[in-house]
């Protein structure tokens, strides 16, 4: 599998208090898999073990995706580029965030009242490196989530889905998606209790162009 650079974006280095250049990639290579296998997963597992030792059984927060088997999922997504895409964010010679999306699948049709039943880009998995997480001790990079979601909208625009994207949010991330400008669709809530959000076509371009002040005025 090869990867293509989509350009340079900025991530904020919280520790240094300044922005750094990161490269956004479509696709992946074995180096990214190695980063996740050798750097992400051990730290996630370590965190989970620490939680267990503290007697915390609920792993619904920081470490829940340690079982997502990202390396395999990325390889699977890479096998059929017509249906799925992998996006990666690299900074400091390390993979900082990863996203897997499905595009135009009938399994994921819009539930938004503006265009029910229309095809869209569905964000299936999105995660940042353990050291970027807010509850990590002294986290490093900020901005991975906005970058990846904006990339999903860009893909949707490019693929002819007019910017429509959808996702199911983990409980701890609901406020983030609302802040991003997504609309919650109550009917989309799954049996698993995960809440369903969409960016409708009418909002897509403004979501990735309007200022935070404008965003605040509309939410």
């Amino acid at each position: 599998m090869s990867k293509e650079s989509l350009g340079t974006v900025s991530l904020r280095n919280r520790r240094a208090g300044k922005y750094e250049h990161a490269t956004l990639y479509r696709g992946f290579d074995e180096r990214n898999i190695e980063h996740i296998e050798k750097h992400w997963l051990p730290q996630l597992k370590q965190a989970r073990e620490a939680q267990r030792q503290r007697g915390i059984d609920d792993i619904r927060e920081e470490v829940r995706d340690s079982h997502w088997h990202w390396p395999r999922k990325i390889r699977e997504a890479g096998r059929d580029a017509l249906l799925s895409e992998v996006f990666l964010l690299e900074c400091g010679d390390m993979t900082q965030a990863a996203m897997i999306v499905h595009k135009g699948l009938v399994d994921y049709l819009s539930m938004h009242p503006e265009h029910p039943g229309r095809l869209l880009v569905y964000v299936d998995l999105l995660a940042t490196a353990p050291w970027n997480r807010v509850s990590w001790d002294n986290p490093i990079y900020k901005g991975c989530g906005f970058t990846m979601l904006s990339t999903a909208i860009s893909l949707s625009l490019d693929e002819g889905y007019n910017g429509r994207i959808a996702l199911r949010s983990l409980p701890g991330a609901v406020s983030f998606y609302k802040e991003f400008g997504m609309t919650e669709i109550k009917e989309g809530i799954g049996d698993d209790g995960l809440r369903y959000f969409e960016v409708p076509a009418s909002q897509a371009r403004s979501v990735i162009s309007r200022s935070p002040a404008e965003q605040g005025a509309t939410t």
Binding site: T8, R64, D65, K142, G143, F146, S154, D158
Partner: protein
Amino acid sequence: MKLHFTDEWLRSRIDNEPEVLFEIGPELEDAGLFLEVIRAHEAAAATSDRKAPSRERTFLGAFLAGLRQRDRCSAKQMAARLGVEESVVKQTETNSLFVPPQRLIERLASYVNTPVFAVQQLAARKVRTGGYENATGGGQNSASKKKRRKSSEEFDQLLNKKMS
């Protein structure tokens, strides 16, 4: 592919971004182990000397076939254990277009002592098994038999891990 946002916009949003989690994805702890099982089953199938055409089936079908392999039972016997028709077991295993009845999902979940949701996830995903690219052709030899036995053992270990 063109990015439809600017770096300036991104920075303005990051400056105002709340410090919250944004990860996406259903909890796949149980399904994660299922996938391990399925992969092991695929590896066992891949070392088969029988030249089979490539076919697509659901993860659920692969998992069900794997369970039968582990428990060494026929489709008919598995159907009896689950309380469903034999045709339901066969169709689920081999036909990616077959929609398994909810009672199969529920009884299978009960059979492997796992949440119904985890089994439902398997039914929604498809996996390609067999295939010319995996077929070795020719008759069986001891190396391929050993390899297949090893894959089956790995498969059993994973299932036992899940069941324990």
